[in-house]
Subunit: 362 residues, 2 copies
C-alpha cells in the first residue's frame, strides 16, 4: 500500500521499502478501545505519550497504602507455533488470550497479582483489522487476568516474516508483598499436590501438533468423533490457554495471614513432572498418581501420531495446567474454594522426603 | 539436532518437529552470567523460578522508603529490520543494545528511572552461542541504562523464522514518583529546545536503509571515504543506538526540587518533527533551526538513494536522538551538565504560542 506522500522523482521512499505508516496509524486507532476496556483507575491517561503509566500505590482508601515492601514480578513469553496454526485457520482473535496466559500463569506461581501487560506483534504487513483481531484477544486475556493492557508495539517487517506469518511476544508485570511471596523452601513432607484442569493443549507442543497433523494428513476443518462431535480439529487445537489468575489471586486473598500454599507450578514445556519439580526444595520428592482425566485431544494426538507415552508427558500438559502444593489440613477447603471459582481440581499426590524428584505411584 | 531420548519406533518426537530442548538449556546456561552482571541488590535471586523478582522499595537506608507514590512506566519495542542487517553481517552482539535503547529512551521521556528489562528472541533454531551473543548485547545495553536484565525468553520457531533470521522484542519497566512525572502541559512559551546527538541511524528506517543498499548495490564490507575512512558501511549502519539513561536520570537527580525540564522526546520513527510534536501542548509551537551537525551517514544515504530531504526528515533522526524542552533560565546549566555526562548538545529552538506544531525557522 503506497503512502499518500509523493516520492521524489528518482528516489526511494519509506513506502517503497514496504513499510506502511498509515496502516500502522489506522491499526493504533482500532486497538485503542480494546486497551481502554482493560484499564482501570490505576492507569494514568497518557495520550500520544512514549510509555504506559501505571500507578502502583493507588489509594483505594484515604491513607491506605497497598504495599509495604512491593516486589515487582516480571514475565515474558510467546505462544510458540500456535500462531502458525492460527494463521493456517485464519482465526486470530484467541491467540492473544494464550499470550496473556503464558506470562500471567507464570507470575501467579510467585504469589503475584497481575498488574499490567504489553504485547509485541511482529508481522509481514500491517492489515489494521488483522492487528485489531489479535489485540482483541490480548485484551480479552487481560480482562480474564484482571490486568491492564497498558500498551504494545506492532512491527511491520516484511523482510523477516513471510506473508500471513506473525509472531507474538507478551510481557507481564505483577506485584507481591515481600512477606507474602511464595518461597519454594516452604514445601515440606506431608503437603498435598492439587492439580487444576487445563483447557486443552494450551500453548506448548505445537510444533509436534502441527507435525502430527501434517504427516498423518489430519484435516483441521473436519470433526473427529473421538475428539469432539461439534468442534473441528482446528478449533479444538486452537482452544485458548486457561488463565488461572482470578482463582489463584482470590485464593490468596482468602488466606491473608495463614501461609497455606507452599508452592505452585504452571505446567508448560517439559510437562507436569519437569515443571512441578521446579517447585520442590532439594530434600523432597512429589509422589504422584494419575488420578485426573486426560482430555480426548491428547489421546487423539498420541494415537494418531503414534507418540511414545513418555514423550507425550514431556511435551504436553496432558490435562493439568497448573499445580498447587498445599498444607494438608487446608487441602480440602482450598480445593473447594478453587472449584467455586470454576476450576476442576484433582488431588494428584503428596510431598515426601526425597531428592527434588517426581515419582509416579501406580 | 536430535535429542538424546529415543523416539518410539514408528512415532514422532518433539525433536522430529524441529525443536531442540537441549540447545535451549545450553543457551540458558550461557546467558546466565550476562544477566547476573546487570543485577544489583534489588533483584531477588529466584533460580529455576517462573518469573523475575525485583524489589521496588529496596531500603538503601534503614527506614528510608524510595517512593511515596510510585508510578510504573512500561515500554515495549523492537529494533525493526536492523536485525536483518545484523544477520547479513553476522554481527549479533550489538542489536541487543539497540533493543534496550528503544524502550529505555522512550521511558526516560516520562521522567522515569529504568529498573528492569526483559527480552524476547524469536529464532529459526537455537544456536546457544548465537543466542549468547544477542543476550550479551542486551546485557551491555542494560548496563548502559542502569537497569537489571531480569529475564527473557528464547522461542525456537523454525516454521515462522527462516534459517538465520530472528526477531527481538524488548520490555522495560521504570518508575517515577507521581509528583515528578513529566506532564506535557508543563511546556510553555519561552522554553528552550535542546537536542542531544544520536550515535547514527539508531533503530529506525532500516527497511529504507536496506532498500538503498540493495538497489544502489552498495557494499556492506567496503569503506566509503565520504562516510568513514576506517569503518565499513556495514559497521557504520550497525552502530548501536545511544542510550540516554545515565545523563537524563543524573540530570533529574540534580534538580530534585525545581521542575526545570518541561518535556522530552525520543526521536524515532517519524523523525524529529513528529516525535517532538508529541511533547507539545495544543497551544504551543516549537520553532526550530537546523543548528546541529548532520552526521555523514545521513548525507551518504540521501545522496546514494536520491531520497527527498523531507522524506529523510520523516524517516531518520538526522543526527538528533533525543530532545529536552527546558526552562530558559536553566538551559545553559542543563546543557553543561549533559555535556559533562558525555552528550553532544545543541540549542535548536524555542517554544512559542501556537497550535501544537513544529515550525522551521530559516
Amino acid at each position: 500500500m503506497p503512502r499518500q506522500d509523493a516520492p521524489s522523482p528518482n528516489g526511494l521512499t519509506y513506502a517503497d521499502s514496504g513499510v506502511d505508516i498509515d496502516a500502522g496509524d489506522k491499526a493504533a486507532q482500532l486497538i485503542l478501545r480494546h486497551l481502554r476496556r482493560t484499564q482501570g483507575q490505576r492507569v494514568i491517561p497518557n495520550p500520544g505519550g512514549f510509555a504506559g503509566l501505571f500507578r502502583l500505590d493507588y489509594n483505594e482508601q484515604l491513607f491506605k497504602r497497598n504495599y509495604k515492601d512491593p516486589v515487582l514480578v516480571a514475565c515474558t513469553d510467546g505462544v510458540g507455533t500456535k500462531v502458525k496454526l492460527a494463521a493456517q485457520l485464519d482465526i486470530h482473535d484467541t491467540v492473544g488470550i494464550d499470550l496473556v496466559a503464558m506470562s500471567v500463569n507464570d507470575m501467579l506461581v510467585q504469589g503475584a497479582e497481575p498488574l499490567l501487560f504489553l504485547d509485541y506483534i511482529g508481522v509481514h504487513n500491517v492489515d489494521p483489522t488483522h492487528i485489531e483481531r489479535i489485540v482483541k484477544g490480548v485484551a480479552d486475556g487481560c480482562e480474564q487476568a484482571g490486568c491492564a493492557l497498558l500498551g504494545g508495539e506492532t512491527a511491520e517487517m516484511p523482510a523477516v516474516y513471510a506473508p500471513g506469518d506473525y509472531d507474538l511476544a507478551g510481557f507481564a508485570i505483577g506485584v507481591v508483598e515481600l512477606a507474602r511471596a511464595i518461597d519454594p523452601l516452604r514445601v515440606e513432607p506431608g503437603d498435598i499436590v492439587l492439580a487444576l484442569a487445563s483447557s486443552g493443549v494450551h500453548s506448548n507442543g505445537y510444533s509436534l501438533v502441527r507435525k502430527i497433523v501434517k504427516s498423518k494428513r489430519l484435516k483441521l476443518d473436519k470433526t473427529y468423533p473421538e475428539l469432539d462431535e461439534q468442534k473441528t480439529l482446528g478449533k479444538v487445537l486452537l482452544e485458548p490457554t486457561r488463565i488461572y489468575a482470578r482463582s489463584i489471586v482470590s485464593l490468596q486473598r482468602a488466606y491473608k495471614v495463614k501461609k497455606v500454599i507452599s508452592g505452585m507450578a504452571h505446567i508448560t514445556g517439559g510437562g507436569l513432572a519437569a515443571n512441578l519439580a521446579r517447585a520442590l526444595p532439594p530434600k523432597t520428592d512429589a509422589v504422584l498418581q494419575r488420578t485426573w482425566a486426560v482430555p480426548p485431544v491428547f489421546t487423539f494426538l498420541q494415537e494418531r501420531g503414534a507418540i511414545d507415552p513418555a514423550e507425550m508427558d514431556r511435551v504436553f500438559n496432558m490435562g493439568v495446567g497448573y499445580c498447587l502444593i498445599v498444607r494438608p489440613t487446608f487441602a480440602d477447603s482450598i480445593a473447594s474454594k478453587l472449584r467455586k471459582h470454576g476450576e476442576t481440581v484433582w488431588t494428584i499426590g503428596k510431598i515426601v522426603r526425597g531428592r527434588g524428584r517426581i515419582r509416579w505411584s501406580p
